[in-house]
């Protein structure tokens, strides 16, 4: 049984309250922290987590054509950003039928990742040139402005009509994706410990932060130096000065008497 959001969230909430019983951290905040840390842990451990472990398949995504005739699809969800677009595990279509959902498996064509700059080199090699049998894709995050589009353009499909493609994606975790607290956290069990530690650390930091910003009226500017303030000796009062002079005079008198008496 995989660990659920409920188990982790309430466990961490309990820990927070033990150290800060007046904390007002909400469950929704904890869930947000979980999602943030899950993304981070998955990214850090991508070599140990098989690419297909969190594969999500979209069996038919419609291929659009832009005003310049370039074919593209809009990604249906956020994906993990990984080297060589490994967050996009595969994009296929059927070469024989032009559709992703029919035809024999052997005739399925997989798209390969590239970038617009790298595609120039591809055009130079007869064997690498984009074609309908050897198509490529590149990712675009803005169209006519930095508008956070998440779009995949295709190279090699210029001369054929492809209605749709099949996608295999490794989705990233969005805070709004937690619909049920009893859903399993999308992380291998051996990383749950790391998740708990990081959540606790994050909480400790977050709970301390507001305290740091409170103005208590005390001057803490030299606090970091950790020194005891030095206080100078106050100047002597007039009475003290007279008393000191009298003492010196009587001491001199005693010495004179001793000399006179031999």
């Amino acid at each position: 049984m995989a660990t659920t959001y409920r188990e982790v969230a309430y466990s961490v909430l309990e820990s927070y309250k033990k150290t800060n019983d007046d904390s007002t951290v909400q469950l929704s905040q904890i869930l947000f922290y979980i999602q943030v840390i899950v993304n981070r842990l998955r990214q850090e451990n991508k070599k140990d987590i098989s690419g297909s472990r969190y594969l999500t398949i979209f069996s038919s995504i419609t291929v659009e054509t832009d005003s310049k005739g370039k074919k593209y699809i809009d990604l249906p969800t956020d994906i993990m950003d990984m080297d060589h677009e490994k967050g996009l595990q595969y994009i296929t279509y059927n070469y024989e039928t032009g559709s992703c959902c029919t035809g024999a498996n052997f005739s399925q064509v997989q798209f390969q990742p590239t970038t617009p700059a790298e595609s120039m080199r591809l055009m130079m090699d007869e064997y690498e040139k984009p074609s309908s049998k050897q198509p490529y894709f590149y990712r675009v995050t803005g169209v006519n402005g930095c508008n956070n589009e998440d779009r995949i353009y295709f190279l090699g499909l210029e001369c054929i009509d492809v209605p749709d493609v099949e996608l295999g994606l490794v989705c990233s975790q969005s805070s709004s994706q937690v619909c049920d607290l009893d859903d399993a956290i999308p992380l291998p069990d051996w990383l749950i410990e790391d998740l708990l530690v990081r959540l606790t650390n994050l909480g400790r930091f977050i709970l301390i932060a507001p305290q740091e910003r409170v103005n208590e009226g005390s001057d803490l500017t030299r606090r970091s130096i950790n020194q005891v303030p030095e206080t100078g000796t106050p100047p002597p009062t007039e009475e003290q000065m007279v008393a000191a002079a009298q003492n010196r005079q009587s001491a001199n008198q005693r010495m004179q008497n001793q000399i006179d008496n031999g």
């Binding site: 690419g51 080297d83 060589h84 677009e85 490994k86 390969q112 990742p113 590239t114 591809l122 090699d125 007869e126 064997y127 690498e128 040139k129 050897q134 490529y136």
Partner: protein
């Protein structure tokens, strides 16, 4: 080449991608890049071993000058013929003639040994050779084959030559006995490309791959040289009969 057993490109790709740690082709190298290197490997093997022999027929043009076929090198034999090849009465073997070049001219040609002219009559070393207008010869320069005027009486020429593999862009045809050499070549090129990114990290891999390639290429050459037992045994039989008569 005494072999009719070939491997698919995918067979090579399956092993190479594993050996290079690029099982999903997501290491910055496209599948086409690997296929291109396979073709390069076969080209190297062809140039080193002459394993690839091709025979093809061509029309003899009016200017008696044809370009060598695509992907060819090293012409081995030419026979001019009319009708069906190669009825003795209607065909002739074309011989090589040094420096012969009829480019832009059919009747005359640039050659040290003039076949039909009188220009060399006073040359004591290489005199004119008369009455050789019906000889069939050719010269090869700059990728063009120049035929002698007498070849014009034939319609076609059959040429046997060595090839460098398939046309660049076509699917490579991989003889089975080159499997190891092709694998090793692609791997060496993979690590060479990686070397450009991180020289210190990948130098050992590259050196190992090159050593493997050299070893397997030598083996492949030996294999090609050891083949053709049919021809060798026939030749042995012929020579031994001649010697013992």
């Amino acid at each position: 080449m005494d072999s009719n057993d070939y491997l698919s490109v995918n067979h090579i790709l399956a092993e190479v991608s594993m050996a290079c740690g690029d099982k999903d082709f997501r290491n910055g190298f496209s599948k086409g890049w690997y296929v291109s290197r396979i073709q390069d490997a076969l080209q190297e093997a062809a140039l080193d071993t002459f394993y690839y022999k091709i025979t093809d027929d061509f029309n003899i043009p009016a200017n008696l000058n044809i370009a060598m076929p695509d992907n060819s090198f090293n012409i081995r034999m030419m026979i001019a013929y009319t009708g069906d090849c190669c009825v003795p009465s209607k065909s002739a073997v074309i011989h090589w003639k040094r420096n012969y070049n009829n480019k832009k001219k059919v009747d005359g040609a640039l050659t040290r040994h003039q076949g039909t002219g009188k220009s060399n009559t006073s040359d004591p070393i290489i005199p004119s050779t008369r009455n050789v207008g019906n000889l069939y010869y050719a010269g090869i320069q700059d990728g063009h084959i120049s035929f002698s005027p007498a070849v014009a009486q034939f319609d076609k020429v059959r040429i046997t030559y060595n090839g460098m593999g398939v046309q660049v862009g076509d699917t490579p045809i991989i003889p089975r006995f080159f499997e190891r050499a092709v694998n090793a070549y692609v791997r060496s090129q993979f690590w060479l490309a990686k070397l450009a990114e991180e020289p210190r990290k990948w130098r050992v891999n590259y050196t190992d791959a090159v050593m493997q390639y050299e070893k397997h290429m030598e083996k492949a050459k030996l294999r090609v040289l050891s083949m053709n037992s049919f021809e060798k045994e026939s030749l042995n039989e012929y020579l031994s009969n001649a010697l013992h008569k």
